[in-house]
């Protein structure tokens, strides 16, 4: 990994407090009806950290991520990144979508170039930078391929390259491997872990899979059912690459699953 690919926009050092989510509340209003999606979330994330958010389905995980991305506005509370309050999307935050959200009329390379193109990077530099990231995610031979020619796993690698090429400080991943089969998922997790090891980027990762969260993250945030609050935050201190069959791994997974089970029981009642 060259220095250039690990650059980020802000000059906050790794390990310092970076993202501050303060008293976030999200209420959806439609006509007279009010639905409280998120009751109250306070969370501080350090630079370079990988934080996963897990929770029962429908608990508003994606809503939190979209608020950090600036795609949605919180009803109350603020989100600050590097001391700057975020109210709209910006190049300091890249996002990876569950259904890939790639532009089908563009080739792999032109998809990755999109962010550079809209930010006015000259053509030559754009191509060079895009190709570097396409290599990084292992799609060098497919840079001119059309999106519909790729498998699900390859599509999501394009999605990751496209988010990273802008050198964002934060990468927001919304169940990025949710649409992939179990085997591809494991491969992608290992590759992502590898890529992120070499960069300073902060990652917020939404997932359904406790296994995935424990495999990748520095911390796992467990949300309650709707209206969501933070139920528990679990530190995952183990060195990488992690062993899914290690006793502490399975024990921790069991514990989190039991926590979630309680939420689901209450949720379905």
């Amino acid at each position: 990994m060259s220095d250039e690919t690990s650059q980020t926009i802000s000059n906050i050092k790794e390990g310092e407090e970076f993202i501050v989510i303060d008293g976030i509340r999200k209420v959806y209003r439609k006509d007279e009806q009010e639905t409280v999606a998120i009751d109250r979330i306070d969370l501080k994330i350090n630079k370079g950290e990988l934080v996963s958010i897990v929770g029962p389905s429908g608990c508003g995980k994606t809503t939190i991520l979209r608020m950090i991305a600036g795609l949605l506005e919180p009803t109350e509370g603020t989100i600050t990144i590097a001391g700057k309050q975020c109210t709209e999307p910006g190049p300091d935050r890249g996002m990876v979508f569950q259904d890939f959200a790639l532009f089908p009329w563009r080739s792999v390379r032109r998809n990755v170039e999109f962010g550079l193109e809209v930010n006015g990077v000259p053509k030559e530099e754009r191509r060079e930078r895009a190709e570097k990231y396409i290599e990084l995610v292992g799609l060098g031979d497919f840079k001119n391929a059309k999106i519909h020619e790729l498998s699900g796993g390859m599509k999501q690698r394009v999605g990751i390259a496209r988010a990273m090429v802008n050198h964002p400080d934060v990468i927001l991943m919304d169940e990025p491997f949710g649409a992939l089969d179990a085997q591809t998922r494991n491969i992608m997790q290992a590759q992502l872990s590898n890529i992120l090891e070499k960069t300073e980027q902060t990652v917020i990762f939404i997932t359904h899979s406790v296994d995935e969260a424990l495999f990748l993250s520095d911390r796992v945030v467990i949300l309650s059912k709707r209206p969501s609050t933070i139920k528990e935050i679990i530190e995952v201190p183990w060195p990488r690459p992690r062993d899914r069959s290690a006793p502490e791994f399975t024990a921790q997974r069991k514990k989190i699953l039991e926590e979630l089970e309680k939420e689901n029981v209450m949720f379905t009642k």
Partner: protein, 265 residues
């Protein structure tokens, strides 16, 4: 060696389709022939009489005009009407699909005009405005509405995730419009073109019947009817059918080619 049909061979499949089309057309001519004999009237010539008149039309033309200049006269009006519709309906459709308020405002006006058959405008435009511009405007009306509706639909149908993705990558409002909304509406636009060309071609023939200056296929048709040249009338109907099939085929082919190129089959 015996020929054996293989469903997995694309040439065999193509051959089979061609055979079926061929048989269908033979059957069509056969039925026409029988009906014509049964009717036993000058007004309804047999395919053989029509074929002779068809050859005669291409050899000698009609009313001091060659067959090609008659066809070109209709085609050029058609192309002009189509281009005019394209230039107006596409940008308008993009904006109406983009802005909900504008759409709500303009929709009632469009809905008032849409039920009026394009041909109903023919006498209005041709006698009211101008003999040469009138037919173009009739074609324009015929193509305009299907094109507009499809473009609006295309912009509305856009995958919200693609817009969100472009926003997180730093696209401005204008860039979201030009780089995401417009390209994702293109396949719908092409569908509108396909439908519009079919309607437009019907309009040109009808519009020309009102226009004393344009010596096109519509004029020939009317003049031949008045002079009771029935085999020639049927020859012209065949010309109209062939040109219509050609226009729709071109539209269909380009629609598929563009959809494939844009990865949106």
């Amino acid at each position: 060696m015996m020929f054996k049909y293989d469903e997995n061979n694309k040439y065999h499949r193509f051959g089979k389709t061609c055979m079926i089309i061929f048989l269908s057309l033979i059957m069509f001519v056969e039925i026409w022939w029988l009906l014509s004999i049964a009717a036993n009237t000058n007004v309804f010539p047999t395919p053989a009489e029509t074929f002779d008149a068809f050859i005669e039309f291409f050899e000698n033309g009609y009313s001091h005009q060659s067959a090609w200049s008659i066809i070109w006269s209709s085609l050029s009006l058609f192309i002009e009407g189509f281009l005019l519709a394209l230039v107006i309906a596409v940008p308008l459709g993009l904006f109406l699909g983009y802005s909900k308020m504008l759409n709500t405002f303009v929709t009632p006006m469009i809905e008032v005009l849409r039920p009026i058959a394009p041909i109903a405008w023919a006498p209005v435009f041709i006698y009211g405005i101008n003999y040469s511009v009138g037919p173009i405007l009739v074609v324009f009306i015929g193509i305009f509405f299907p094109l507009l509706t499809n473009v609006i639909f295309g912009v509305k149908k856009i995958d919200q995730n693609l817009i969100d993705a472009s926003r997180t990558l730093g696209a401005s409002k204008t860039q979201q419009f030009t780089k995401v909304m417009v390209p994702s509406a293109v396949p719908y636009l092409m569908n509108g073109v396909k439908v519009g060309l079919g309607v437009g071609w019907m309009c040109i023939v009808a519009a020309e019947m009102y226009s004393p200056v344009s010596i096109g296929v519509g004029y020939c048709l009317q003049s031949m009817c008045q002079n009771s040249l029935w085999p020639s009338v049927f020859a012209i109907l065949v010309v109209i059918a062939i040109l219509g099939i050609m226009t729709t085929s071109v539209a269909e082919y380009s629609q598929k080619a563009i959809a494939k190129r844009m990865g949106m089959e």
